[in-house]
Symmetry: C2
Subunit: 353 residues, 2 copies
């Protein structure tokens, strides 16, 4: 069933994701491989990622990627350090990556400009190759996601993560990661084939106002990004946590009626996530599970299974998982009578200094 | 008026903070100054801070401190990278700081152990000098805060921030920061003298269930830590945001009845915070202001003024501000019939792997 009015643009952009990533790989793979030769031979001492909002969630994904796969420490920049405090941070020997789909984020541009003056290598990741962000950096990865029109970012999130996965693969010359990248379009197509099954389960949440989201490791980014989608398109008071931080205090807020959305995928972090699912159910919370981990799906009150029957390395799992989350948020937004293409009080480009 | 039952321990520990910081300075100042000689002469290429929960909020404060005051890039460690993914991150040339009041946080200890093997300098900050965390590091700063008994951490938070401020001052040999450190006990005493005035304003929030907290720069940590206190002692669904991240989407959740607690102190970030206060009021939110910035206090629906009539450098402002926030959380907890010394489902020491 097609939506033809509210939320139609967001839904279209969700569906475009396999094609967008296919274009990114075709256009940028060789270039990024060549650009990375120097970083393969002499890895940067550290990587700085500067971003805001959805792009910052892609950066959080990449923090795990570069630390685990490349062994390089990652600084998630506090953009105000350069933009507001005007402080100079020693960045020589580092690789500084600025991320902004529009390429207009003033505080991210400030970080890149300062890094360039400090003698760091600089790289822009953006959907707009002619943007000020691209101008401020030595290197560029263009997303090739085609213009994103809905206020809630969807395809630029997965394309940004894919660009960072491509960079991580190129810097480590990893065949494993490179093969993973190639699998992404098919993994996302698989989720989109189950679009109706996902949408059918959303009705239940029509009057939901608050929720907790849980993830860990690579999928902390998934929980944070789904939390943002639910806040901006459904006006939910959505509280995302890493599972260990959740048991360090916030778990006290659990009570019947406050549901938990747990991102649960196979991989090293799964036992930690499963443990918190068990604890949450014991406190009477309704638990939704989104992911590919059968054991967790079977414990769920409502399960959103993904890529069933496939082995998916944990570093790929945020991609299909967030697509399911985006479909959930888009559907819930429309059910609540909101237009997710244009939520109240938001503009597509947010300039912060 | 003294509390003699529920919440008495937490209140006592809040009141001990000036004395605890005085002890820390007396016991550790010379040692830290000497320990830091090498880092003053040859600054580490980067600093890694590993922590969980409240200690991680002190680390967030220190990220701004070391980047702005010392010009050193700061990595906030994702403890699962070492503890769960067993990945090796290249940390030579860096200073790796593990923070845990109990000294028992397994994942933080894992980061220190790996860093030591990698040849990085390692430092433990803990309230327990005989703990496994202290054993895992080359250097130690002991908090001297005396045992903390209430589940909700209060004095160890401010003492940890003070230890990090001491380290930042010693590494930069900054007289300005050093003089600031000396002022802390008096600034906190000043807040505690207004304890009754703060408590009197809390009645209004007896039936509050949800709130937004806003801060920026040094005071992002304050907003995050107050959010955690309100979740763990008052069971509030408290959503903390950096002001620029809030306008990137979450601002859509604002509506009448969802109040905003804004941390507003004088300093470079104040215009950004003021701007979001104005936007929040325009959307009908009730706005509480905690801080020393008169212009914001005068716009507030309920004002919690701090250190009135004193010039407080922004890097010191999180200390008095969180003390006011702790008093607010403790009082609200008791008003709600909760015992903040022992909230449901929490233990004092949380071990995560």
């Amino acid at each position: 069933m097609e939506e033809t009015c509210a939320g139609h643009i967001m839904l279209q952009e969700i569906r475009e994701q396999p094609a967008a990533i296919t274009r990114l790989i075709a256009a940028e793979r060789e270039r990024v491989w060549q650009m990375s030769t120097r970083w393969h031979q002499a890895p940067p001492r550290f990587i700085v990622l500067a971003a805001r909002g959805t792009s910052d969630h892609a950066a959080l994904y990449a923090k795990y990627l570069f630390e685990i796969q490349n062994g390089i420490p990652v600084v998630l920049a506090a953009p105000s350090v350069a933009g507001i405090y005007r402080a100079r941070v020693k960045m020589d020997g580092g690789l500084v990556i600025g991320i902004s789909q529009s390429g207009k984020a003033a505080d991210v541009i400030a970080v890149l400009k300062q890094a360039r003056e400090e003698g760091a290598d600089t790289l822009a990741i953006t959907n707009v190759a002619t943007s000020p962000l691209a101008d401020a950096a030595d290197h560029l990865i263009e997303l090739h996601a085609a213009p994103e029109v809905a206020v809630a970012a969807t395809k630029t999130f997965s394309s940004t993560m894919a660009a960072l996965l491509l960079l991580s693969a190129a810097m480590s010359r990893s065949q494993h990661l490179s093969a993973g990248l190639e699998r992404l379009p098919a993994l996302l197509e698989d989720v989109l084939r189950h679009e109706e099954a996902i949408r059918a389960k959303v009705e239940r949440f029509r009057y939901l106002t608050d929720c907790v989201l849980l993830g860990r490791g690579y999928n902390m980014a998934t929980a944070y990004e789904l939390g943002l989608k639910l806040r901006e398109t459904c006006y939910l008071r959505a509280l995302p946590f890493a599972t260990p931080d959740f048991v360090h205090g916030p778990i006290a807020i659990l009570e019947e009626g406050l549901p938990v959305f747990a991102i649960a995928n196979q991989g090293p972090t799964f036992p930690s996530v499963l443990d918190v699912i068990v604890q949450s159910k014991a406190r009477g919370a309704e638990v939704m599970v989104i992911g590919n981990a059968e054991e967790a799906l079977q414990m769920a009150d409502i399960a959103f299974p993904i890529n069933r029957g496939q082995e998916v390395p944990e570093e790929l799992s945020p991609f299909p998982t967030i697509v399911a989350g985006q479909l959930l948020a888009q559907r819930l937004s429309v059910l609540k009578g909101i237009d997710p293409d244009q939520p109240r009080g938001l503009n597509k480009v947010t300039i912060t200094r």
